[in-house]
Amino acid sequence: MQERRDLSDRQINRDLLWPVLYTPLWFWVAVLALGLVVSAGAGAAAWWMNKGPGVAGLNRPIMWGHLIVTFVFWVGISHAGVMLSAILRLTQAEWRRPMVRAAEVLTVFSLATAALFPLLHSGRPWRTLYWVFPYDFSRGIWPNVRSPLVWDPSAIFTYLTGSALFVFVTLLPDLAALRDRTTGIPHRIYSLLALGWRGTPRQWRLQALAGILLSALILPVFVSVHSIVSWDFGMAVSVEGWHATVFAPYFVIGAVHSGVAAVVTLMALMRWLFRWEDYIRSEHFDAIGRLLIVVATAWFFFFALEFLFGLYLREPQEVALRQAQVFEWPYNLLMILFLLTAYFIPVPLWLFRKVRRNVALMFWTSVLVNVGMWLERFLIIVPGLARKQIFTFEWSVYRPSPIEILMVTASFALVALGILVFAKVFPLVPVNEAKEGQVLKAEIRVGRRTVPAIVREQ
């Protein structure tokens, strides 16, 4: 096992704040590359606006495709933040410390990206105003509250606000630290943001309290968001394989699965890019790996339920749908890929402590998981529409158009860009948490062995 080194506060400050205070070359390169991809996606979106939804590969009856899949995917990723920071905070898991902020930031950016898709995907995006906001067009009509598509924006924006606030509150002490280490305009901005943080005991207590409160308050939102996203499908009685009662928890746990995996990816990158071996240690990968095993297995249980009960009534169209998913090209290939990447490759690997503590392996397995989870959403959404109801005459196929693929790709670049820029402006590993960790770390001697221990927070 890798020893937890004793680090002085000064040392911690130096290590964690350097990316903010100095800019490496690769940063600019990365920003440039990502920026290019993002603008390509923007171009694709503009093309869509200009030419009409026809540029997509959608048809009748497959009215939803890659964009909606990706929407669900990013909302899923956004569940990383709360899962790690809020729940682990409440359960006082010690190993959460270095990864909480990364997770929260990931939440914010992925959620913001996700929110773009339903709007871009609609037939007349410029008219979606009175869908997203309860704005009355002097005709006395308000959005139709019965529609899951109205639940969506409310849930998403609540969640977005909540997690942004969360990031800010936990950021306060570090902002102060930055304020004290910068000059000129940055200094001004940081001092503005730091809200006059001086680190008095009262401030600390309030900050901690706010953290706990926000965690507790955001939990229901966390659950509701993906439940509601799942109900976009679960409420649709007409689409084979969508109208399943298990969808809400199935989607949520799936979201946690992909979200936590995404955090692992991020951790590995941080460790490599910012050389934070002392902070993001293999024991953290170990712990999060164990968490992932549990989450993935729970998710798989729900997946099994969903699939099993999809065939429960033996309705011919049910059977047809499942046949399509499992046996028919191209779904059969996607299904195999999905099962392998989302569960059967990573989870067995994670069972080995050696793997869990190997950063590179964790990085790649976590990437696999998210490939799989994207496919999962695809396999839920598209085949269901392609085999809608008993009208075999209408059963159709869907091929994504380059435009759609471009927009999907760009969304990944967008999230990455966002986090990168954030890392340039704020520390991605919370300095104060790192210090707290140093303080609470302890040891116990049992016989001849020394057992790492922690002072239990009250």
Binding site: E306, R314, I444, V455
Partner: protein, 465 residues
């Protein structure tokens, strides 16, 4: 019993209760109780035995009234209750052990011993095998081709039986493995016979401990799978498939979850009695109730969440089948039961546990757990009786909501007797296995120390890799 002075050193806001400090002390105390009989335990056993006999009478009556499945709803409910509660309880010890939560240690054995009830559930299932309608024409999860022709043979009863056997055996295995070191201790104290046999010549060498740890992990995992996985056939064959067209993929998960909740509640209640009248005050502290309360809170929230996601889906779907189903389960004659369990399993735990002091007390969690147990029983009655009351489970659509089935004498006796019997088994097993896991308590004395920290004294917990 050895009266020990209770230290009253406190940290900032709550008393850090003192567990026995040295391993020897623990061994002396816990294992020492093996000889000392419990207060009034014979009476307890006799009373429970009497209840059990009532149950047997009830069973006789029930069988006398014939094999029409609509009359066996309450029996099925009893079975479901015992299966989920007694099956869920051991999970508590498995899960918390997996999470390395120290507060679990005094509760672990209490939870594991519930596995013995699995034997009773198994026996209870046998009469039902003649009652459950065959799979032909019914909805079923047995997805192998040609299910409607009743393939695989013996579906569903044979497979439900298999499930119950696996759960029972798995539970006993878990209990046994967990108890081996203690059994060995008892053996060394001169208790022979079965105890000696079961302790497998345990000497406590390092090797044995390593094997033991691994075995315990495996047994726990297997049991977890057996129970949760077992809920799928159990719930679909004994609840879902009695209503034609009821396609509810979350139901098995809900069934397992509510069982887990009730199981934990059972553990808490038991712990309370052991603490107050059982004389385990030194081991079972507020810590345990506190930790359990947090878990219960989470479970209650999930309980409501699962309920809601099923409810909403049917409600929004507005298919005739779905609407009839909701009449049957929520708005119809069984409405009182539904509302009752809504309060007992969700609202009461939720609002009680939102209050910190209630969470962090002995009485609070106990009362809430009791309400959860009652709620679970009512819930099982609602589910099983309502679904079993549908005369013809075949077909794809649920056209007519059947009239309610009143609680008969036989059913009453069965419920009382069944639960009584289960408790009887449990009490006897407790006597045999001891309610405290001595070796885990010893571990605690190593890994949990109270130290001065800054200006106060704080608990320092060791987290061995």
């Amino acid at each position: 019993m050895h009266p020990l002075p209770r230290s009253t050193t406190t940290t900032r806001d709550h008393p850090v209760e003192e567990y026995p400090t040295s391993p020897r002390e623990v061994a002396e105390d816990i294992v020492g109780r093996a000889e000392a009989p419990w207060p009034r335990w014979r009476w307890l056993v006799l009373a429970l035995g009497a209840l059990f006999l009532l149950g047997v009478v009830g069973l006789a009556l029930r069988v006398g009234q014939g094999g029409d499945h609509t009359r066996w709803g309450y029996y099925a409910a009893l079975l479901g209750f015992l299966y989920t509660v007694a099956g869920g309880a051991p999970i508590v010890s498995v899960a918390t052990r997996m999470a390395k939560a120290h507060w679990r240690r005094p509760l672990a054995r209490i939870a594991e011993v519930y596995a013995v009830v699995g034997v009773l559930t198994l026996l209870l299932f046998i009469p039902l095998m003649g009652v459950i309608p065959p799979a032909e024409g019914r909805n079923t999860i047995w997805i192998v081709g040609g299910v409607r022709q009743g393939w695989p043979p013996g579906a569903p009863v044979a497979y439900d039986l298999l499930t119950l056997v696996m759960v029972a055996l798995g539970g006993l295995a878990l209990l046994w493995i967990a108890a081996i070191p203690d059994l060995a201790a008892l053996r060394d104290r001169g208790r022979g016979g079965l105890t000696a046999l079961l302790s497998l010549g345990w000497r406590g060498t390092l090797r044995q401990w390593q094997v033991h740890r691994a075995a315990l992990g495996v047994a726990g995992g297997l049991y977890f799978i057996a129970y949760v996985g077992g809920c799928i056939p159990f719930a679909s064959d004994l609840v879902l498939s009695f209503v034609p067209g009821w396609k509810d993929s979350i139901f098995p998960a809900y069934y397992a979850l509510s069982g887990l909740q009730a199981g934990l509640a059972a553990v808490v209640v038991t712990a309370f009695f052991l603490r107050t009248v059982g004389g385990y005050r030194r081991y079972i502290h507020v810590d345990q109730f506190w930790g359990a309360a947090k878990l219960l809170l989470a479970l209650s929230l999930l309980w409501a969440y699962f309920h809601w996601s099923a409810f909403l889906t049917f409600w929004y779907g507005r298919t005739p089948t779905g609407q009839n189903l909701q009449v049957l389960l929520y708005f119809g004659p069984y409405r009182p039961l539904f509302i009752a369990s809504l309060f007992l399993n969700w609202l009461i735990p939720l609002f009680a546990f939102l209050i910190g002091p209630v969470r962090r007390s002995v009485l609070g969690p106990t009362l809430v757990s009791f309400s959860i147990l009652v709620g679970a029983l009512l819930d099982r009655i609602r589910l099983h009786v309502a679904t079993w009351s549908v005369p013809d489970p075949r077909g794809h659509t649920f056209e007519a909501v059947p009239p309610p089935v009143p609680l008969g004498v036989a059913d009453g006796l069965l419920l009382v007797g069944g639960i009584g019997g289960a408790l009887l088994l449990y009490v006897l097993a407790l006597r045999f296995f001891l309610p405290m896991s001595a070796w885990e308590m010893k571990e605690l004395t190593y890994l949990r120390v109270v130290r001065p920290f800054l200006k106060t004294r704080a608990v320092v917990l060791g987290k061995p890799e």
